[in-house]
């Protein structure tokens, strides 16, 4: 057991998989010699050499295309896109190429790759370096989409993603890189498509992802201590596949649902979860499901403005209290 940062967990997860399988290769901008702009890939070049850990030009389409071509023909590439906002300049691969090649070829073409990227707000970088784009990916059939909230999950889900035969979008939260957590020694492998109940409770279900998980947990502690409301908090972890059983099971128990999303309002992942619960567990609900989101705006840069728009523990507490009438 050791305490590890989320940032170091990324490097450990990649190293674990590269050491296991010589077909795992890693490419991206500034990832090799420089160890990544978030310093999350330090040491990999030294450990695995320049044939397996490769710096690329600033060519997001080439990075994504090369990863796909390598994956189609037998490698297991991990590609890094520095900021998830840059998905927009290589979105063809995310929307048209990775997820459709198997289907269009009637199963002939495989695409076992992982795209890692720095996602999310909190760094005061402004609207083009702070977005949460998991919903951009979630809407595309053929992709898998995961977003870990702890160092342990980074390693376990990254290992699962690399071993998965489908294209996986792996969203690391930039504001979590410096956070720490306990990580056991030895190989760690998790399972895609599994949510985690990170705090059991009976009065309401709060579903969160990535940075929002710790905020939901903080809110839950406050709601319990100050208002006697016992919240169940679920880290959804994997948007595709989606662990609806854990979500529906929780709602059946608590009868109330809240989602905490960093995305702007429209078409955030919480909307899909609310829709599933409304369809399939409507009579389990004692009140309307409530989405707590960033407003439908581009993210502002200034700390005071950015802090005002992301869901905070206080906003979660207020929303839950108002909604439960407690």
């Amino acid at each position: 057991m050791a305490e590890l940062t989320y940032r170091d967990a990324v490097a450990r997860g990649i190293a674990q998989e590269m050491a296991r399988d010589p077909d795992v290769v890693f490419l991206g901008e500034d990832v090799a010699k420089a160890g990544g702009v978030f310093k999350s890939t330090v040491g990999l070049l030294e450990q695995f050499g320049p044939l397996r850990v490769r710096d690329t030009p600033i060519s997001e389409q080439a990075i994504m295309g090369a990863a796909m071509g390598a994956a189609m023909t037998g490698l297991k590439p991990i590609a890094e896109i520095m900021f998830s906002d840059f998905f927009a300049v290589c979105f063809d691969y995310i929307a048209n190429e990775f997820p459709k090649s198997r289907y269009m070829s009637n199963g002939q073409v495989k695409c076992p790759l992982v795209v890692r990227t720095g996602n999310g707000a909190g760094s005061r970088f402004g609207a083009q370096h702070s977005q949460s784009v998991e919903n951009w990916c979630m809407m595309i059939p053929g992709l898998k989409v995961v977003a870990p909230s702890t160092p342990l999950d980074v390693i376990g889900l990254l290992a699962a993603a690399v071993r998965d035969p489908d294209p996986v979008i792996f969203l690391e939260h930039k504001s979590l890189y410096a956070t720490k957590g306990e990580v056991p020694d030895g190989e760690i492998v998790d399972t895609l498509g599994t949510a985690k109940i990170v705090r059991p409770g009976k009065d309401c279900t709060i579903i969160a992802l990535a940075l929002m998980v710790s905020r939901a947990l903080e809110a839950a502690e406050k709601l319990k201590a100050e208002h006697g409301v016992d919240c169940e908090v679920i880290d959804v972890r994997s948007l595709v596949p989606l662990d609806t059983q854990t979500i529906l099971g929780s709602v059946a128990k608590t009868h109330r649902l809240f989602t905490v999303e960093e995305n702007p309002r429209l078409c955030g992942w919480g909307a899909e979860i609310v829709s599933i619960v409304a369809d399939e567990a409507f009579y389990d609900l004692d009140g309307p499901p409530v989405r707590i989101t960033t407003p439908h705006i581009p993210l502002p840069a200034a700390d005071i403005l950015e802090d005002a728009v992301l869901p905070t523990p206080d906003r979660i507490v207020d929303t839950v209290r108002r909604s439960l009438g407690s």
Binding site: G74, N96, N106
Partner: protein, 344 residues
């Protein structure tokens, strides 16, 4: 590699017992005729409403496909565009499978799940046909990277049009391939037009691919894309170079499509006489004359023509008789487990 200007080939190009040899020449001829017959049939079937959706024919561009395929060895990989029937057939994919996909029948190459723009036959090295302009150049780089990494000797080739040289992925891929010295060959089929707009109207240089080569440290290569021998020789040099670990090539083949861009496009945007001039240099006409000059008997040529015609006729009948794809394949192969489940 010589830089050959756009010109008609003649007997001076080669002698009877030259480097290509009769067997290879007959193969190049057969491939071109197969493409010609199959594409012509696809057009006829389109007019009969039996080819649905769209189709982008390579009538007039057969020599590029035949010449490159003739230089490939088993295991080499092809990446094509929506105008990819020719390159797919050239790798030996059965005509029936191609026409079946165009007719969206269950006997099609992908059982109707891909359609005419996405012909794929991994077992023949056809790693897909891509309908987003430029997308497959980086993908071909990745396949070549795998070969380089694994020490495999296969080479990836990527075919695309003149219009594709103005999209970002073209430039990203060329730089990437050159810097990584990848065993990949980029083949621009310059047929003078994008969909309807002449490439010259929208491009800063005369040769949209070759004139960009120097920006990536590559040789400037323009060849007569209607002469299968010229294509074959150039292709062979590029394959040898890639296999020897000497990196990518960019080859611009001057050619012309006899039909419109797609479907039943009448191609009214072309100046009068242009099509007729290019038809004088029809690759198949040229090649037939070449074979005769080399002393191949008329009967040998006629036999090839007849046997190809029969293959295409039989394929047409088989496709007409083939059932539609069953509805239960709608949800197969979205994910690697064979299904489409996105939730538990």
């Amino acid at each position: 590699m010589a830089t050959v200007k756009d010109r008609a080939p003649g007997p001076a190009d080669s002698g009877l017992n030259d480097d290509i040899g009769e067997n290879k020449r007959l193969q190049l001829y057969r491939t071109q005729v197969t493409i010609r017959e199959a594409e012509q049939r696809a057009f006829d079937l389109f007019l009969q409403n039996l080819v649905k959706g769209t189709s982008h024919l390579s009538l007039g561009q057969e020599a590029v496909a035949a010449g490159f395929a003739g230089a490939m060895i088993k295991g080499d990989l092809s990446f094509c565009t929506y105008r990819g029937h020719a390159h797919t057939l050239a790798r030996g994919v059965p005509v029936e499978k191609v026409l079946g996909e165009l007719m969206q029948r269950d006997n099609g190459l992908m059982r109707g799940k891909g359609g005419s723009m996405h012909l794929t036959s991994v077992e023949h090295g056809v790693m897909g046909s891509y309908a987003i302009i430029g997308a497959h150049l980086p993908i071909a780089c990745g396949a070549a990277w795998r070969a380089q990494y694994k020490g495999a000797k296969d080479v990836s080739v990527c075919f695309f049009g003149d219009g594709t040289t103005n999209i970002g992925a073209f430039h990203e891929a060329l730089n990437f391939a050159a810097v990584w010295k990848l065993p990949v060959i980029f083949v621009c089929e310059n047929n003078l037009y994008m969909e309807y707009t002449p490439i010259a109207d929208v491009t800063a240089v005369e040769h949209p691919a070759a004139d960009r080569a120097s920006a990536y440290g590559l040789e400037r290569i323009v060849i007569d894309g209607n002469d299968a021998d010229a294509v074959y020789r150039t292709a062979k040099t590029a394959y040898d170079k890639a296999r020897a670990g000497n990196g990518p090539s960019l080859i611009e083949c001057m050619t012309y499509r006899h039909s419109g861009h797609s479907r039943a496009d009448p191609a009214k945007y072309r100046p009068e006489g242009e099509l007729e001039r290019w038809k004088q240099r029809d690759p198949i006409k040229i090649y037939r004359e070449r074979l005769l000059q080399f002393g191949v008997a008329e009967k040998v040529i006629a036999d090839i023509d007849a046997s190809v015609r029969k293959v295409v006729d039989d394929a047409t009948e088989a496709c007409k008789a083939a059932p539609n794809p069953p509805l239960d394949i709608i949800t197969t192969d979205v994910y690697a487990d064979g299904g489409w489940a996105w939730r538990n």
